[in-house]
């Protein structure tokens, strides 16, 4: 247990985390640092290209692992189960209506790109290896949970909801050809095809300054989170606590399953992080379209203002420590 706490604190003293806290504080004291929307959008595109390309280059370098197909399976399994768990906790235990339960489940079943990227940085800093194709799993896990959540709502709420079929088609299309999925897979493939020559060409832009860009992005994420803390009371103590409980349960669950399937510590940690993380870009947009009756204050605040900070500050070292313990215990 000492190790966990130690890692947690060592993770705190990085530029990225401290700038996240700075953004949070700046926003709470209403200081007027405003990173323009267009910058936030291009930073997020940059991070996805970078992480995808590096993953592809990694595969080019180390070859496609035999674990690949296993991992695809794990991805779908984890996405499916975590959506289900969250839905039933909110619907059955909290007695919320199925629409809000589905909206929240869609977020927790899906994934957060920046949480994943922060975890990769964490592993690289402490020198732990992981499989390059995991970036593909990130892309694979973004959309299915949203579809599963919508189906759950439909099953449990036959009367009030009548799905607009054209909206549903829109959602399926979005689930497959979502910008971040295309960008992640596209960059992965290009990184693989380009090999070392291409990597050397663009790494001064897409690789070397990466940590600094992530730091700038987390400054903005801190400000976004800080702006939302006023809404904590609207979310309530129960949902608020669940926003901490969900990532812990899902994270431990994700690490366990992938360790049992025989994956290495680094990759298992990342699966834990993916399962623990909750979406705040793809899911809110899809849910707003498909479930307009759901309350955005619930899902956006939980995902962005509680689960995200929890994961990048405490969650990541926690899942890593657990992956370590489990691996030692098993082997």
């Amino acid at each position: 247990m000492n190790e966990i706490i130690l890692n947690g604190f060592s993770n705190l003293n990085t530029p990225a985390i401290l700038f996240f806290l700075l953004g949070f504080i700046a926003s709470v004291i209403r200081s007027d640092i405003k990173i323009p929307d267009s910058i936030v959008k291009i930073l997020s595109i940059y991070l996805m290209i970078s992480i995808g390309y590096k993953g592809g280059y990694e595969i080019y370098h180390n070859g496609i692992s035999s674990d690949l197909f296993k991992s695809v399976l794990i991805s779908f399994l984890l996405g499916f189960l975590s959506t289900l768990i969250v839905f039933f906790i909110v619907y059955k235990l909290l007695k919320k209506d199925s629409v809000n339960a589905g909206a929240i489940a869609a977020h927790y079943g899906s994934v957060s790109v920046v949480t994943f990227i922060t975890a990769i940085s964490f592993l690289e800093k402490i020198g732990v290896e992981y499989k390059g194709y995991i970036v593909g799993m990130l892309a694979l896990m973004e959309s299915p949970a949203i579809l599963i959540a919508l189906i759950l709502v439909r099953l449990f709420d036959k009367k009030t909801i009548n799905f607009d079929p054209s909206a549903f088609k829109e959602i399926i299309k979005e689930a497959l050809f979502n910008g971040s999925i295309v960008l992640l897979f596209g960059s992965l493939i290009i990184g693989f095809i380009n090999g070392a020559k291409g990597f050397n060409l663009i790494s001064p832009f897409f690789v070397t300054p990466f940590q600094g860009v992530l730091t700038l992005f987390l400054l903005e994420m801190g400000m976004i989170a800080g702006k939302r803390i006023e809404e904590f009371k609207k979310v309530g103590a129960k949902l608020g606590s669940l926003a901490v409980l969900f990532p812990i349960v899902n994270g431990i669950f994700g690490v366990s399953i992938s360790t049992f399937f025989g994956l290495d510590i680094g990759t298992s940690t990342l699966f834990g992080v993916l399962t623990a993380s909750s979406s705040y870009i793809a899911a809110p947009a899809a849910v707003r379209l498909a479930l307009p009756e759901a309350n955005p204050t619930f899902y956006i605040t939980m995902s962005l203002a509680i689960t995200f900070p929890f994961n990048i500050i405490l969650g990541i070292p926690l899942y890593f420590s657990y992956a370590n313990l489990l691996q030692k215990f098993l082997g």
Binding site: I35, I39, P284, A285, L304
Partner: protein, 93 residues
């Protein structure tokens, strides 16, 4: 001539444009960078989550066309956030 100003969420803009084109108006104008407050509360636009960005769509046309458009859009606005304002206007040409 009537002028219909519709304020709707950006996520629904494409659907609205489709309806407008189906009704068959002579033209429309879209204003970007719109936020506000209404029955659904204050718009919650942040740099990352597009939910809460609004657009204003203006259509100027003959009364019957506008009425047809209103009937088409009404059920939509029952479900989603948004409002419509109607006024008198003259097209100069």
């Amino acid at each position: 001539m009537k002028k219909l100003e519709m304020i709707i969420e950006t996520v629904e803009l494409n659907s609205l444009i489709k309806m407008i084109e189906k009704v068959g108006v002579h033209g429309f104008t879209i204003l970007n960078g719109v936020t506000g407050m209404g029955k659904h509360g204050k718009s919650v636009s942040t740099s990352l989550v597009d939910v809460g960005d609004y657009n204003m769509v203006i259509v100027v046309d003959e009364e019957e066309v506008i009425n047809k458009l209103i009937e088409t859009v009404k059920p939509f606005l029952k479900k989603y956030s948004g409002v419509m304002f109607l006024s008198n206007v003259e097209i100069v040409s």
